[in-house]
């Protein structure tokens, strides 16, 4: 009992920074695609070559672990991430609903367009419904009804269930006469100059937007977040003005893990300009919350239609791949070219699915389109953590999440679900093979028990697993071998300050510190 009270005390003390902090005074920071491309694809790529410690870590294989993990090798809740489905299973209804403030735009009256969306991939408008709620509605590209809108809503559901902050996204249908240009609405037409958005110009913009069989528009509607827009959040440094933002984002596990989740959801368009910081009041306190936004470049979708074949395989300017092509006189067939050739140079037969399959999918080789250093820093421990999150989604959960995309064809929904299920397993299998995939440690009755997630997920057979455990002293020096099997490690002779190091079939280690009957800490090798 005393232990529990002390634990709670510690938790409270450690939460003090958040409680004691004053309202953050943070400036709005801006970025857009060009800047992102220059910063990451040109500047950062060059600067990485001048980063001596980075070279050192690379040469001596000493990756830098994430800095925001707790004693149990988990990511505590923060303004970036709140443990959700992997911590406590969300119900089917919660999964399907995602982050939700309303049921979507109120379609009982007109939707007034206040401004045209002039950035991003697809035709879109900022609208106000009859309740006065503001949304950003985005349409599918020509000849690809459902593709972008379904991708956006489905991916937003996944990211929310994983633990990220996302705005509310819903699929909405409305007839063309519902959408009206509001007085004072503006747009940027093909001249690039700001112009009044008249009803005529609005109809012109919608001319090539596909409609459903019922003659309706189909949109993904994201509700405009409450609070003050503070721009994007960096994938590298932190906002020093925000007292809650203590760790460089480059060293935040949940940001690194976006590389893994991006690969799962085929969202190669994760970039700083697709993030958003909002300063809003929560529980009587001003909090800077960090959001992921804009997911219509995920699954099989990209600007204008199906994902181009090279997406996910190469950076926008991929110096390595370009050099390979140059040096091999173009005779080396790139993986994406092979994949595209094997697909008969065709996307999925349904335009709503686009180009999304697991042919030649290699989890470690998936590339987000800009080479953010944070994604290159994913360690084995980060990958293992991300895979645990992914494996928390059952096949049924994935089907439920995909249903939020409201595909009109069951075959399309089934195909996307099936591909995500397969890809989930491919990713988890890979990362589990790169680590000691042991979790859920418990010290009880003289034994340290654990779950082997690779066996539990049926990626490996129990009889092929060979566990090794050694007892280390506080300095990491081996004291003795310990008896270990699938049922756990015998804790004979284990003292409170010693650490048990466990490996599976010569995998990297996981180190567990136990007291008499408690697990004190867990750390997977980076």
């Amino acid at each position: 009992m005393l232990k529990k009270i002390f634990s709670l005390f510690l938790i409270s003390v450690f939460s003090l920074p958040a409680i004691a902090a004053e309202a953050p005074v943070v400036k709005k920071q801006e970025t857009l695609l060009y800047r992102d491309v220059y910063e990451q694809n040109v500047h950062a790529e060059a600067m990485n070559q001048l980063d001596l410690s980075r070279w050192g870590r690379k040469l001596f294989k000493k990756p830098l672990g994430s800095a925001n993990i707790n004693v149990f090798d988990e990511v505590p809740d923060s303004a970036f991430f709140v443990n959700r489905h992997a911590k406590s299973r969300l119900t089917s209804a919660q999964l399907a609903r995602g982050y939700s403030e309303t049921d979507g735009p109120d379609l009982s009256g007109a939707l007034s367009v206040t401004k045209a969306k002039t950035e991003g991939l697809h035709v879109g408008f900022f609208i106000r419904d009859v309740k006065g709620d503001n949304y950003l509605v985005k349409f599918d590209g020509p000849d690809s009804l459902e593709l972008a809108t379904a991708a956006e809503v489905i991916t937003s559901r996944f990211f929310y269930a994983l633990g990220y902050n996302v705005p509310q996204y819903t699929v909405a249908f409305f007839s063309p006469e519902k959408i009206k240009a509001a007085e004072g609405a503006t747009t940027r037409d093909k001249t690039g100059f700001k112009k009044p958005l008249t009803q005529e110009k609005l109809e012109e913009a919608l001319m090539f937007v596909p409609q459903t069989d019922a003659g309706e528009y189909r949109v993904s509607a994201s509700k405009i977040l409450a609070g003050e827009n503070k721009g994007y959040f960096s994938f590298s440094g932190r906002r020093k003005a925000d007292p809650d933002d203590i760790v460089n984002h480059r060293d935040r596990r949940e940001i690194r893990a976006l590389a893994v989740f991006g690969a799962w959801l085929n969202n190669n368009d994760i970039r700083e300009s697709n993030t958003l910081d909002m300063l809003a009041e929560e529980n009587g306190k001003q909090v800077l919350k960090h959001y992921l936004i804009d997911f219509n470049g995920s699954i099989g979708s990209a600007h204008g239609g199906a994902k181009p074949p090279l997406f996910g395989h190469e950076y926008m300017f991929d110096f390595g791949e370009t050099a390979k092509a140059f040096l091999t006189l173009g005779f080396w067939e790139k993986p994406w070219q092979k994949r595209w050739r094997e697909a008969g140079e065709k996307s999925h037969s349904s335009a709503a699915v686009g180009y999304f399959d697991n042919r030649d999918f290699k989890p470690a080789e998936y590339k987000i389109q800009l080479p953010y250093e944070v994604f290159k820093r994913v360690t084995r421990a980060d990958g293992f953590w991300a895979s645990k999150q992914i494996m928390a989604f059952s096949d049924e959960d994935i089907r439920t999440l995909v249903s939020a995309g409201k595909f009109s064809s069951k075959e399309d929904a089934d195909y996307v679900s099936k591909t995500l299920i397969e890809r989930r397993d491919l990713i988890a299998k890979y990362w589990f093979s790169q680590s000691a995939p042991l979790d859920d440690f418990k010290a009880q009755r003289g034994k340290l028990t654990f779950k082997d997630l690779a066996v539990q997920s049926q990626f490996e057979k129990a009889e092929t697993r060979n566990y090794q455990a050694v007892l280390l002293d506080a300095k990491g020096k081996k004291i003795k071998d310990l008896d270990v099997d699938a049922s756990g490690v015998a804790l004979e002779g284990v003292t409170a300050d010693s650490v048990i190091e466990i490996r599976v079939n010569a995998s990297p280690y996981v180190r567990v510190q136990v007291s008499a009957d408690d697990v004190v800490s867990v750390r997977h090798q980076d």
Partner: protein, 441 residues
């Protein structure tokens, strides 16, 4: 401020003590919640770079800010969209500006006007063409002219046009005739040319067309303006046919066949052109010659449209008749990038107009392969090899006189339209560097 520092210090101490307690193994872990914010040491951010690496990066960091800000401004203000709109607007209205750079010849500026488009008459008279242009090459020339014509005369496959051009090239170069001349003997001369021409032709099919030409040229030759080069008289003006200028009338015919799948980035097909001309000097000119030319290129896919082998062959001969001569400026010429009609043919590592002769034989081989692509953009690497020679009569042709040039070019395309090329070419007489928006062939 002091309170803030005190508070930070206190919190750090608490974190540190808590962490130390944990590390000692005597702590009571928060086993109740494995997601609790309990850490082995206080959370903090390490510096993004070690001091030495930060120092190395400093100069680049200094340029990062203005570049980032400029790019942000460019995108926020929709400058590319505005530029694209402006370019399209100008093009749709018949205004086509151009710009380029060539080593040794400086910047090139041009403007071409499509008058039916500009006047809004194109929709009313779609077959009517009337182009006018002006071109200024910083160190070499000024050119202006116009061409007026009808694409399909009365709806038939016949086409006709009339052409006028005035060109002043105050800094052309001459190195002597034949294959055995020295780059060190180069001289400069001025060449003022006025051309009036008429053409009538027939389009047999989209791939085949033929035409007859009647061309009048008035050529004035003067001393070059550069102090860095010698004058034409160095070679003895009597030894150089046409050194006093000529008025020439030419009657010619050509036949063209073009089967390329894309004009700028062909992956298959080719073009073939044959030309025959009869030129006769007017007034006191001694010019009198036939011109024969065959120019052909073929493009082969090497297993993929991303790999293309392009081969071009060009043969030209000027045959003196009636005891006349071929003016040196109208002889076959070799050297330079070779995209402009008034310039010499492609032998990229050599100076423009490096070789003159009554005959020419040229082969260009390029292996074009894609090394980068992103949506509608792609970049090709193009190793190339040019070899050619000028000579007098066919009997004077010798294999040993071929001059070689090799190099590498990078070409960027947007939707298979050539945007920019950067190339470096090397040969016996040095290295040339080009930035162009038009490829050699």
């Amino acid at each position: 401020m002091i309170f803030k520092k005190l508070r930070t210090g206190m919190l750090s101490l608490v974190f540190f003590l808590a962490g130390a307690v944990f590390l000692s193994g005597t702590a009571f872990a928060a086993n109740t919640d494995k997601y609790a914010p309990v850490y082995t040491k206080p959370l903090k951010s390490s510096s993004l770079k070690d001091p030495l690496s930060a120092l190395l990066a400093l100069p680049f960091e200094m340029i990062r800010w203005p570049i980032s800000k400029s790019l942000l401004f460019t995108e926020k203000e929709y400058l590319p969209k505005k530029a694209e709109w402006l370019y399209t607007y100008l093009k749709n209205h018949g205004i086509q500006p151009s710009i380029g750079f060539m080593s040794g010849q400086g910047m090139q500026y041009g403007l071409k006007l499509d008058l039916p488009k500009l006047s809004g008459l194109q929709s009313k008279y779609p077959d009517f063409t009337f182009d006018t242009w002006v071109h200024y090459g910083e160190e070499i020339s000024f050119r202006t002219g116009a061409e007026i014509g009808v694409e399909r005369v009365a709806g038939t496959p016949f086409f006709v046009s009339g052409f006028f051009q005035y060109e002043d090239r105050w800094e052309d170069n001459f190195f002597g005739m034949g294959p055995d001349t020295s780059a060190g003997n180069g001289v400069s001369y001025g060449h003022e040319q006025t051309t009036v021409a008429g053409k009538v032709g027939y389009e047999f099919s989209p791939e085949w067309k033929g035409a007859f030409h009647l061309v009048y040229e008035n050529n004035n030759i003067s001393e070059g303006e550069s102090d860095d080069w010698g004058q034409l008289s160095y070679f003895g003006l009597n030894n150089i046919p046409g050194s006093g200028g000529d008025k020439i009338l030419t009657l010619a015919a050509d036949l063209k066949n073009d089967t390329r799948d894309f004009r700028d980035a062909p992956t298959r097909g080719g073009y073939r052109q044959i030309y025959f001309g009869y030129s006769e000097g007017l007034d006191d000119s001694n010019a009198s010659y036939f011109t024969y030319r065959a120019d052909m290129a073929q493009y082969f896919k090497v297993g993929s449209p991303r790999r293309v082998l392009a081969i071009r062959g060009l043969a030209e001969h000027h045959d003196e008749i009636n005891g006349g001569n071929v003016p040196f400026y109208n002889m076959s010429k070799l050297g330079g990038y070779g995209t402009l009609p008034e310039q010499s043919h492609t032998l990229r590592s050599y100076h423009v107009n490096r070789f003159f002769g009554e005959s020419l034989l040229l082969f260009n081989i390029e292996y074009r392969y894609t090394i980068w692509e992103y949506r509608e953009l792609h970049m090709d690497a193009v190793p190339f090899f040019d070899f050619g020679q000028t000579f007098g009569e066919w009997s004077e042709f010798q294999f040993k006189d071929f001059k070689e040039s090799y190099g590498l070019e990078f070409r960027v395309y947007v939707a298979r339209n050539n945007l920019v090329n950067i190339s470096i070419a090397h040969g016996d007489e040095g290295t040339n560097f080009f930035v162009r928006s038009k490829k050699a062939f």
